[in-house]
Amino acid sequence: LCEDVTDDGLVFKALADSTRRLLLDRLFERDGRTLTELESQVEMSRFGVMKHLRVLEDAGLVVSRKSGREKRHFLNPVPIRLIHDRWIDKYTEHHVSALADLKSELERNDDDR
């Protein structure tokens, strides 16, 4: 881990790529896939898929487990939940209260008329 990159930063960076999001979707459909299985799901070289998986693992979005000669990959949705709790909730709450303020403001103006 780089010192200047926060955990959230790694997650946002990992999610900012369509191939990596596709890999997460494939794991969401069926968890615990091997590199070979994932490789057949995307139009990309084995090396390319490995690189993307590495970024996902560094962000904690994918956890891998040794199983015999192969490594199985699991989707770990916890970092996305943490981002949801840390960021999304905060802004959607404000959004809702801002709309409520707007509504009462508009209704007050109506009364003045």
Binding site: D31, G60, V63, F74, N76, P77, V78, R81, L82, D85
Partner: protein
């Protein structure tokens, strides 16, 4: 791929059991983390208000109840109890007819100290049927996020899960 191959693959997939892995880093000690998992008071603060009761001996039973819902919601056996590192439990979800049909699955909690101030907590939920009802395991991210907030800030996290039984008129039988 021939039809025979596809049939074999489908059969294989249906018989295969599913494993879910959840991992989180928490700034705390293994002892505090173990306590937060096994202490009914602390556990209820991030686990949908559910109170877990057990003597935490290998082979003994545990059950989870909730003041906002009738009956036992989750039960199982403690297969391995190795504080503050490893806890393996069977799990039977009882909060609804649909989840009851899923039968018994297994939950493994593993605590690993990282550096001198943090822990990696891994929850592995396995022996799940392929295509099992996602209520069985869908709550883990919320639970673990709440556990992290509790241990790192001492505060409670409001999530859809924490509000599940907040209204006394709610009788929905979920975890």
């Amino acid at each position: 791929m021939t039809i025979a191959d596809e049939t074999a693959e489908t059969k294989n997939r249906l018989e295969k059991q599913v494993e879910k892995v959840y991992e989180i880093y928490i700034k705390t000690t293994p002892d505090r983390l173990w306590k937060a998992i096994t202490d009914p008071e602390m556990r209820s603060k991030y686990s949908f208000g559910n109170r877990i009761k057990s003597d935490w001996k290998p082979g003994s039973r545990y059950e989870a109840t909730n003041p906002g819902a009738p009956g036992v919601l989750v039960e199982g056996e403690n297969l391995e109890v190795d504080p503050p590192r490893r806890l393996v439990q069977t799990m039977r979800a009882l909060w609804g007819e649909d989840v009851k049909r899923e039968g018994t699955s297994r939950v493994t909690w593993e605590i690993e100290p990282i550096g001198d101030d943090s822990c990696r907590l891994t929850v592995t939920h396995d022996q799940l049927r392929e295509g099992a009802n996602d209520q069985l395991y869908g709550g883990w991210p919320m639970i673990l996020s709440g556990l992290k907030t509790l241990l790192e800030t001492g505060e409670l996290l409001t999530t859809p899960g924490s509000l599940l039984y907040a209204n006394p008129t709610t009788t929905a039988g979920r975890r």
